[in-house]
Symmetry: C2
Subunit: 365 residues, 2 copies
């Protein structure tokens, strides 16, 4: 919708993998949304902008090759991955599905571009989680290492903490290899957790609402806290709550993708950009939600729970994120107003909240 | 055979993937060898040691889970990867087969161990090619990086030059993740190119001969030079020939695997050992083969060809390889005698040499 509203010809393809997994795992979003063709139709009705849609599985090479050949895009925005860390840690079948889907789609996409559309710019969604939480500053994709008096510039070493995040490390390795070998144009966006429910296009109709999960499988921490605040249950902090990550507003995600599309990567090297606007610890976020909720006369309590994950709960975290700022990113920070906007929207759907699915159902600690 | 001769109970499983690809690509080995059950039978006849064999595809999770559950091994030696760099660079189907086979087998193996045999020690064959040719010393798997006054120990960053080698980078990332998360015992052996045709067990019968490829797809450079010397064609050096790698004798490969098995990795961290005994440039090797051939009154010429590969032809190369020495490795270096032994063996099969399959049929430069 963001690109179509700005005059681009957009083709969207989805195999509903996330919707399927959400159903299978009893993790329905708070606000149910119609399917892709219906949403595109609604959007066209409201905005006058057409989006072509297809239902298909890009992990099937024929589907990928056909759509790239038929549409010959200037850019491909690749979101087609199983995106849940906890799901990928559930058991063998879930882990295998994550590994195979994520690697196959990326691999097919590289080959479709290489074989039939080599000028195409691939914008791939990576994750800040690829880096993990090392005890040094996280650079933007690469680091120059000086060792025994010699120097070399490497991919910044990665160490993720779920299989899902690890598949994105594998994606980075694959993309880096194929860019080096065949001079493709690829941008890998190391995205932090995204929050927000409002964009100019989504706000045209309630049925164009972004997907909003608050469960333990697809919900990220800001969503969970907002829903817990509205549901009147304690905000659940895993362990000490010192886990710090780089976050960004949904509006800024869209800005970042657009900035990347407008200035394509060169062919010499995989372009890697760290995509977030500010860092918070889980405890910081809980406090901020608590304080915003007070403005709605909601009294929030914060509860530390046993951590279901294997992760550091207290660590150094200082990732560089200047690349997108240089391209022109104007951040929308996490203000009380943003949180209040989310809480009001969630409050309107309060009856849909199923508190059973908030608490961790998958553990790997 | 090496382990069975030392009193271990050995189960060997193969899906003949390499044999299949060799047939498909017209890359038959110089000396044809019978199938796995027949070789095991021959070996038992000659040595009295039984090896249980199975034909099955370990990229199928059921096959992997069944064999691990049934045999409950103390150690698994995982060689079950598509091992050809050039094959992986041929086209989409070959690349996909390499990616899927290699990742699936490693993944299934991790899960089979985690689910049904968590004490088992996995010895995985990686490759020195994972590191590429950086301008700094290559450490043994890990490097401590000091950056802006802080320190952290990371996996040594990798940058391979074929898809096959890149799949081994992905394997390393996967293994490292699952060891960190579930405290598995895994050793990853970063092996250099192996040469040699003789082991005490293989020498029991000509039909127990190791697989010897000299073609552009499966043959490595020492084999190719030995065959070219015997065939009376020039030794083909790709580009400048300054490409330097760490090599080892087949006997030392067996020693390394045995040393790793005898001293299992601890559970805290993926153990990574650089497995080679000495480094040579391609030009060094050509000169050494030329000089050894002179002792058989063969006059060898050396010819520089256009490089079919994308790789540095002149580079710094200084990888550490002390881990296996500390475990007790006693190297068998590449002497003229070793080369003469190989040349005599190859000479006995001179009529089988097909010089058409020596020159590069796959290019990605």
């Amino acid at each position: 919708m963001h690109f179509a509203a700005r005059g681009h010809n957009v083709v969207a393809i989805d195999n509903y993998l996330r919707r399927t997994i959400a159903k299978e795992t009893d993790s329905e979003p708070l606000i149910s949304t119609p399917g892709l063709p219906e949403r595109a139709g609604l959007f066209e009705e409201k905005s006058g902008h057409k989006i072509e849609t297809k239902i298909g599985d890009l992990s099937d090479p024929d589907v990928m090759f056909d759509i790239v050949k038929q549409s010959m895009p200037d850019a491909i925005v690749h979101y087609a991955e199983q995106p849940s860390g906890p799901y990928s840690m559930k058991a063998f079948d879930e882990a295998r599905r994550t590994l195979q889907n994520n690697l196959d789609v990326t691999f097919n996409c590289i080959w479709a571009i290489k074989e039939s559309n080599p000028d195409c710019h691939l914008i791939k969604l990576g994750t800040m989680g690829e880096y993990g939480t090392p005890n040094i500053d996280i650079e933007e994709g690469y680091i120059t290492i000086t060792h025994n008096g010699r120097k070399h510039r490497f991919l910044f070493p990665r160490a993720a903490s779920t299989l899902y995040h690890t598949t994105k490390v594998l994606d980075t390795d694959l993309l880096s290899f194929y860019v080096r070998t065949y001079d493709l144009r690829v941008t890998d966006l190391m995205q932090g957790p995204v929050y927000g429910l409002s964009t100019p296009e989504a706000d045209l109709d309630p049925r164009l609402c972004p997907n909003f999960h608050y469960d333990d499988i697809f919900g990220t921490v800001v969503n969970r806290f907002v829903v817990q605040a509205i549901a009147g249950v304690p905000l659940s902090v895993y362990g000490k709550g010192g886990q710090t990550r780089g976050y960004l507003n949904l509006l800024d995600t869209l800005q970042c993708i657009e900035l990347a599309v407008n200035e394509p990567a060169n062919r010499q090297q995989l372009r890697i950009l760290n995509q977030f606007t500010e860092t918070f610890s889980v405890v910081d976020l809980a406090q901020q939600v608590k304080s915003a909720a007070k403005q709605m006369d909601i009294d929030v309590t914060i509860e530390h729970q046993e951590n279901p994950r294997k992760e550091m709960e207290d660590h150094y975290y200082n990732p560089v994120h200047t690349g997108l700022t240089k391209l022109g990113l104007k951040p929308n920070y996490l203000s009380d107003d943003v949180l209040l906007g989310m809480m009001k929207r969630v409050k309107a759907h309060k009856d849909n909240i199923d508190t059973r699915i908030i608490n961790p159902r998958i553990r790997w600690s």
